[in-house]
């Protein structure tokens, strides 16, 4: 860009220095809007929550009392419900690792073929995953109703009256019954991941294995499973993360009861923060959940980055 100065005897060419963006900075410019968004709506609230976790605060008053690590100490040393909730989360996570993952893999194997209705079945099995968990929880709570719920009505109708139960009212059954709903609503996620993983495995490996005399199980053991190694990392990491983040189903189906028997860290954090007005303690609980999830998520993220 240049300009010609008028009125002078000889035109004087003024060269304006052109401002260039260094090429290496361009990706950061593109990332900047998302980073700002992320910083404003995720990082800042997280840091604010970390700050609050060192205070005794009701979440409403202008005054906050600094208590240092007391909230964190209370979670592990004083609060019996928090410890029960942590234990429930561990049980839930073990279940989340095993059952939806296993069923998802089995469904993916069954549907990973060109059958006439495979697309329809994929849609059917994945559809619960797109439903809001609050709606899922309410529907299943009705299904479990001891008086008119479809579960007990069906059991009675087929002569299994003795199996009919107060599913969500029973201290021992409430968490497993809620977990069945979790399996139903979450089996679609691993199925989709495994289907994608299966389709990435070259057919050549299967042909070579068949020529070498491998039977179906051996092909599964030595071709399919190693071929799904990356998918396993994703699926299992997400299962653990989801296991510790569980909230919606427990909240809508049992409200943490009967008694406190189905409290998990997510619901206990909610109760402390929003119902008991202990925003500091609730924030500390949130950070305990976050720390556990991060410890599990970091290897997953590293693996993903390498991939």
């Amino acid at each position: 860009m240049s300009e010609i100065t008028l009125g002078a005897r000889r035109p004087v060419i003024v060269r304006r220095r052109r401002w260039r963006i260094p090429v290496t900075a361009i990706p950061y410019l593109f990332l900047a809007p998302a980073t700002l968004w992320y910083a404003a709506f995720l990082v800042y609230p997280m840091l604010q929550s970390l700050y609050v976790s060192f205070f005794d605060w009701d979440g409403l008053s202008p005054t906050m009392t600094f208590v240092g690590l007391e909230n964190y100490i209370n979670i592990f040393a004083v609060d019996e419900v928090a410890r029960l909730a942590l234990w429930n989360n561990i049980l839930w996570t073990i279940g989340a690792l095993a059952l939806p993952t296993f069923f998802g893999l089995m469904l993916a194997l069954a549907l990973n073929r060109r059958a006439p209705a495979s697309t329809l079945f994929r849609t059917i099995f994945y559809s619960p995953a797109v439903l809001p968990l609050v709606a899922v929880g309410l529907i299943w709570a009705w299904m479990y109703n001891p008086h008119f719920g479809v579960v007990n009505v069906t059991l009675k109708a087929v002569g299994l009256r003795s199996w009919a139960n107060g599913w969500l009212s029973n201290y021992e059954m409430a968490l497993p019954a809620t977990f069945v709903t979790f399996i139903w609503s979450h089996v679609g996620f691993p199925m989709i991941f495994y289907l994608a993983g299966l389709q990435a495995i070259s057919k050549d490996y299967y042909e070579a294995a068949t020529i070498d005399g491998a039977n179906a199980f051996q092909r599964f053991r030595h071709v399919t499973m190693p071929g799904l190694a990356e998918t396993h990392v994703i699926v299992l990491s997400l299962a653990v993360i989801n296991g510790f983040k569980v909230f919606d189903l427990v909240y809508t189906m049992t409200y943490g009861g009967p008694g406190r028997s189905t409290q998990v860290l997510g619901t206990w954090m909610y109760f402390q923060t929003f119902q008991y007005y202990h925003a500091g303690y609730g924030s500390a609980l949130a950070w305990v959940i976050a720390a556990i999830v991060l410890v599990i998520a970091i290897p997953y993220i590293r693996r993903m980055s390498r991939g």
Binding site: W142, P146, N165, L168, N170, G257, P258, F274
Partner: protein, 419 residues
């Protein structure tokens, strides 16, 4: 080009006019827990207010269906985010406590003087909402609760309304023999089961001691409390209650009564409206106050109130709205919207709402009441109460242990307050 100019001028004029109108009108946000049928009944009420006050537009926001379990969370979030409603619904007692303690609720003493509300609403409702000598709300509902029963089932088995606790026990025993559950409860959230336990505590401890227990001025670890828990355990053990109810939603507890599998349900005066909307034959349902064996026979009752947040920008307009909703002249024009009114002199139409009419007579008479425990305790303490209550119902905790555990929870809570 000329056409374009005319269009631009018209659009600008319209925009200016619209902006001017919007600036002139203040929006008052009214937050409630009203369900859809109630919202419908309130539409003409608010429309009339808006028509009579062209400088104000009242808009209702509702958080229906959750009861005291979720509504305070929504309210708290709106207050914490600096965007509270101008007028909000609140139950009486401790549910409002955290908001008042945090300085989020405007004391209305000056407005009480201005509008003379002390002479407008039932005195006992004002007593219940007064805290540390200040009035933070204006009662608009006076709610009483009792045992609603199926008239056809009572008639079929030759039963009549009980006069003593033993009569009630005999009724339950008769129903049990005939394969009908005496009562149905929804234990999810704890508060419906609490109504029965509160009744037992009133009968076994008596009015004075019950009040002291609610104020934590007396130990929960005492024989009369053990006896109350024991009655609860006995009712479950004897099969008088529809089984497995601990995680049944309170509204779903009505189903066994509608189907005739259970004879009674512990509900308030609002149950008449529920029966209507659930298309149940109203003449088949009556209520009685559970007999306590004490004089006077007290029953569970509570007010509901309107409050104004401290951070509302329209406090005077909010108070004027509350006054308009509270006075008898307004309420008489919309009797269906103002059932269970706490306002003196507002009679229900006994032909339209016969049960509400009965409740109204009771609640504005000098009959004695006790507060439900979830309005006497903070949410944190009442959840501890519910935990013990659930344990007794499930047979996990003996009545004696329950009383001891409840006292331990009360002491822990008091210690926390001191620290």
């Amino acid at each position: 080009m000329r056409g374009l100019k005319i269009f631009a001028a018209t659009a600008l004029a319209g925009f200016v006019a619209f902006s001017g109108g919007a600036e002139a009108k203040d929006t008052l946000r009214l937050m409630t827990v009203f369900d859809a049928p109630t919202v419908k009944l309130w539409e003409p009420v608010l429309a009339a207010y808006n028509a009579a006050n062209p400088d104000v537009e009242v808009k209702m926001e509702t958080v229906a269906g959750s009861g005291a379990a979720v509504y305070p969370d929504v309210l708290r979030t709106s207050m914490a985010s600096g965007d509270p409603p101008d007028v909000f619904f609140m139950w009486g007692g401790e549910i409002a406590g955290p908001f008042i303690k945090a300085g989020q609720v405007e004391p209305l003493d000056a407005y009480y003087e201005k509008y003379g509300w002390e002479k407008v609403v039932a005195p006992w409702t004002i007593d219940r909402i007064t805290r540390d000598g200040h009035k933070y709300g204006v009662p608009f509902h006076a709610r009483g609760m009792g045992l609603w029963y199926r008239v056809d089932l009572f008639e079929k088995y030759g039963l009549s309304e009980p006069k003593t606790y033993d009569d009630l026990a005999n009724i339950c025993s008769t129903f049990k023999k005939d394969g009908i559950y005496c009562a149905s409860f929804g234990g999810k959230f704890g508060w419906q089961t609490m109504r029965l336990l509160d009744y037992f505590t009133e009968t076994t401890c008596g009015p004075e001691e019950h009040d002291k227990l609610n104020m934590l001025q007396s130990s929960w670890n005492q024989p009369c409390v053990v006896a109350a828990y024991d009655r609860m355990a006995q009712w479950v053990k004897d099969g008088w209650l529809v089984p497995d109810f601990l995680n049944v939603a309170p509204n779903d507890a009505r189903m066994p009564v509608y189907s005739g599998d259970a004879a009674m349900v512990f509900e308030g005066g609002w149950f008449e409206g529920v029966l209507k909307s659930d298309e149940q034959p109203l003449e088949n349902y009556k209520f009685f106050l559970p007999p306590t064996g004490h004089t006077p026979v007290r029953y569970s009752a509570f007010p509901e109130q309107w409050m104004i947040p401290t951070s509302s920008k329209h406090k005077d307009q909010a108070a004027a709205l509350i006054n308009w909703m509270t006075i008898a002249d307004t309420q008489k024009q919309y009797p269906e919207a103002f059932t269970a009114s706490a306002t003196i002199g507002v009679e229900s139409d006994c032909a339209v709402a016969p049960r509400d009419c009965e409740w109204k007579k009771l609640l504005t008479s000098d009959s004695a009441t006790y507060p439900p425990t979830d309005q006497a305790f903070t949410k944190e303490l009442i959840d501890g109460f519910f935990e013990v209550q659930d344990g007794v119902v499930a047979g996990k905790i003996t009545p004696a242990d329950a009383a001891a555990q409840m006292q331990a929870k009360a002491e822990a809570w008091k210690a926390k307050q001191k620290s």
